[in-house]
């Protein structure tokens, strides 16, 4: 009898899944956002650069640029300062990390529309993992997009890594990477995986996935919200265009996809 009630309960709840990537997700609270750079900062505005604890902000000519690989959402560049940086509440943040700025053209066809993901934790703080877990849950459900989590690197197309890559996980990550069939892609999520974040490089961590194995796609954020992770996966199969890793930025509102 109780099993019937569970089925009814499920039906009553209805569909919760986001319509992204078909349509933009407009619900509030899906993304913490990222700061945007400024083209022509007013006098004194440059002092905001020194407030950034991870050196994500820098001055180039008359602009303030934001390096998204380093931003950890500490909000110190916006809270307690007078109107300096814009704030981008979007979530399409993923970008190519290899030098030639794009996937070799063949890969796209090989991967087709379905991907198997293998995840390795390289010392993540658990926030990234918690957001990744949401991908298999009702709100985001990546199965509908043809993405599946696989228990073995032998069947994986994508190696997904979170965290600054701790020294003790070095061997396991290399082994998982070597065990994957080619063609393969490596996707790093979170500021730690892209730049080491606040943890590395140090004696205990490498300071980013790129230091260890070739990295293809990076998703900035601390942690990147689930929608940004989906964007990263879609980017890996070229179903979405990449975002930029640095922003000179506009100042108005949401970024359109």
């Amino acid at each position: 009898m109780i099993m019937v009630r569970w089925v009814l309960k499920g039906l009553q709840t209805g569909i919760k899944t986001t319509s992204y990537p078909r349509r933009e997700e407009l619900a509030s609270g899906v993304s913490p956002g990222l700061p945007e750079g400024k083209r022509e900062p007013r006098d004194g505005a440059l002092s905001v650069i020194s407030r950034c604890p991870t050196y994500a902000l820098r001055q180039v000519g008359q602009q303030i640029l934001v390096d998204y690989r380093r931003c950890i959402h500490c909000f110190r560049c916006v809270r307690g300062v007078q109107d300096v940086l814009g704030w981008n509440l979007g979530y399409e943040w993923a970008a190519y990390m290899n030098k030639n700025d794009g996937p070799p053209p063949k890969l796209e066809k090989v991967f087709g529309r379905s991907l198997h993901i293998f995840f390795v934790d390289g010392g993540a703080c658990n926030a990234c993992i918690s957001e990744l877990e949401q991908l298999n849950k009702p709100f985001y459900n990546i199965h509908r997009l043809g993405f599946f989590v696989t228990p073995t690197p032998r069947k994986a197309d994508i190696l997904l890594i979170a965290g600054p890559v701790t020294d003790h996980m070095r061997f396991s990550i290399q082994k998982a990477y070597a065990g994957m069939p080619t063609p393969k892609r490596v996707l790093a999520v979170g500021a730690c995986g892209l730049s080491g974040g606040i943890f590395g490089p140090s004696f205990a961590s490498e300071g980013g996935v790129q230091k260890l194995i070739p990295l293809d796609v990076g998703v900035p954020g601390c942690p990147p919200p689930p929608l940004a992770m989906i964007h990263g996966l879609l980017l890996a199969v070229s179903r979405k265009p990449p975002a930029s890793l640095t922003s000179s930025g506009s100042v108005d509102g949401r970024k359109k996809s």
């Binding site: 604890p53 500490c74 298999n136």
Partner: protein, 532 residues
């Protein structure tokens, strides 16, 4: 029935008792106003004093803080009980570096001593099992990363060893073998290694190996400014970021003697409870998932995501990063927003209650939780377990009432406590605490004091203090020593996952193999938090 941890000596009598028992070997300093007793203790009686406090007087072991001071090491053993803390200080010259081990008497200190042996190179005399713990086998002998002369910015020279780690096999029976699990899993899971010694379907015992995620947080915090270390405190364990940053901020505020405005205190309680609620809902989803009850998992996951979105909509961050700062909270909120938040979480509570009632009558679900992964009250005390796991084993100790902070003494709530110590008891505690969190949020929201949310900016003075908080997973203690220039000289974190992983093997003994994920889920611990 005598409840564990009940018999406790009054702090004002402690001085007399101690000097009566060990007249010349212990120096006692009482600070009744702060409920603190500082003792300096000689090596000859260290074990006896610690053991007396722990097993006879109902004190819990909080932490062992090792500090390097010029020519000596100082070891600070921290104990606590109802409204009182005891710090036992023991100094040894650096040349000696040998300390009597207390872990045969205070079992809760076992892992603390192993950690100090690895990271500081101290020798704990009489400890049954020292050796590689935090540092794995590639780490060179004789290099201790927490020592002052170790340079944390450079990679160390790796030793050439076989990377395949194997412990000694204990179970000797025909068909016995060791089933390795991890450090890589088949799902989005954290790195940790378990070896299950099995004979057929039955697992006899579980060997754990952690610190795959060791990021050296305590070391890299050294010589950084307080404001930068705050980021580490917040981000070493992202799912309980608010509780840990709160404990760190409270330590800094205690050092600098800064008064936090009442509004900030109230908001801190509110967000700490919001984090607890979200964390517990996530844990409940994990438990449902481990028993493959799909609809219940989805229902709890929907609530979890809705809570994450609520956190983000109100504070700007889904995991409440960037809120705490030494002296208060970085943002102020409209009272209406907070009232709306309280009303919204009340709605979540109704949904959660519904889920709880349905789970209660799902016999296939209960079959998999009841009498699985039992931790007895006696073991919970001797391992010094904390948080929901301890409270499911009848240990009703919660820092919010034992050592109230941030104004918790003014809030009314009950501490849910169960006796069975099995998986189902832990699930019920999670539901009970989630309900209490909602009550607290509603109370605080209805009497939110007005005024500033952060104290006027202040200079961090030189000194040391302990900050603590009841994080979602249990008691956390942060010891912070600051030096000139507002930099951190020593930062020691004792996270609840570290304390509780120590006792994990109690629950993972003599069980059927298929129960392993369920035991893991009902413990619901975090390696990021434990490994640091």
């Amino acid at each position: 029935m005598e409840r564990p941890l009940d018999s406790t000596v009054k702090l004002e009598n402690l001085s007399e008792e101690i000097t009566g028992r060990w007249p010349d070997q212990v120096r006692v300093d009482l600070d009744l106003q702060n409920g603190l007793c500082l003792m300096e203790c000689e090596a000859s009686v260290l074990r006896k004093v610690c053991s007396w406090l722990f097993s006879k007087q109902g004190f819990s072991f909080a932490s062992l803080v090792v500090e390097e001071e010029h020519a000596e090491f100082s070891l600070r053993y921290i104990f606590y009980s109802e409204k009182s803390q005891v710090h036992i200080l023991h100094r040894i010259p650096k040349t000696e570096a040998t300390v009597p081990s207390i872990s045969n008497f205070v079992h809760a200190a076992d892992w603390h001593e192993r950690e100090a042996e690895d990271l500081f190179g101290l020798d704990f005399e009489g400890h049954p099992r020292l050796g590689d713990f935090v540092l794995h086998e590639e780490w060179p002998e004789g290099v201790n990363p927490m020592r002052a002369d170790f340079d944390p910015s450079k990679p160390y020279v790796h030793r050439e060893v076989s990377p395949y780690w194997r412990p000694i096999k204990i179970v000797q029976a025909s068909g016995a073998f060791m089933m390795p699990i991890g450090p890589i899993y088949s799902d989005f899971a954290e790195s940790a290694h378990f070896l299950l010694e099995t004979v057929g379907e039955d697992v006899i015992r579980t060997i754990t190996r952690f610190f795959y995620k060791y990021r050296g947080v305590e070391k890299i915090a050294e010589a950084r400014k307080v404001n930068e270390v705050l980021l580490l405190a917040e981000r070493f364990s992202g799912t309980s970021a608010f509780a840990h940053s709160l404990a760190f901020c409270q330590a800094v505020e205690e050092v600098s003697k800064v008064e936090v405005p009442p509004r900030a205190k109230a908001l801190r309680i509110l967000f700490a409870e919001l984090e607890r609620l979200r964390h517990h809902v996530g844990s409940i989803a994990g438990i449902c998932g481990s028993t493959a009850l799909a609809v219940a998992t989805s229902q709890a996951s929907i609530l979890e995501e809705e809570l994450l979105r609520l956190c983000c909509a109100v504070t700007g961050h889904r995991y409440l990063f960037g809120l705490n700062t030494p002296g208060g909270i970085t943002m102020d909120f409209n009272n209406e927003v907070i009232q709306n938040l309280a009303d919204t979480v009340q709605g979540f509570l109704e949904k959660l209650e519904d889920l709880k009632q349905m789970l209660r009558y799902s016999s296939s679900f209960l079959d998999r939780l009841e009498e699985v992964g039992i931790v007895s009250p006696g073991s919970a005390v001797s391992y010094g377990l904390v948080g929901p796991i301890a409270r499911a084993s009848g240990i009703k100790r919660d820092l919010r009432t034992v050592l109230p902070y941030s104004g918790y003494e003014k809030v009314e709530f009950i501490i849910p406590c169960e006796q069975e110590g099995d998986g189902y008891a832990r699930l019920r505690v999670l539901f009970g605490e989630a309900e209490q969190s909602v009550n607290i949020i509603r109370q605080v929201a209805s009497f939110l004091p007005s005024g500033p949310t952060v104290s006027p900016s202040f200079e961090v003075t030189t000194g040391a203090a302990l900050g603590w908080a009841e994080s979602p997973k249990g008691a956390t203690f942060h010891w912070v020593r600051t030096e000139e220039d507002g930099r951190v000289a020593r930062y020691r974190i004792t996270p609840p996952s570290f304390t509780n992983w120590h006792g994990f093997h109690l629950a993972a003994e003599n069980f059927a193999f298929q129960d392993f994920p369920i035991i893991m889920a009902t413990f619901g611990l975090s390696n990021a938090e434990s490994d640091r």
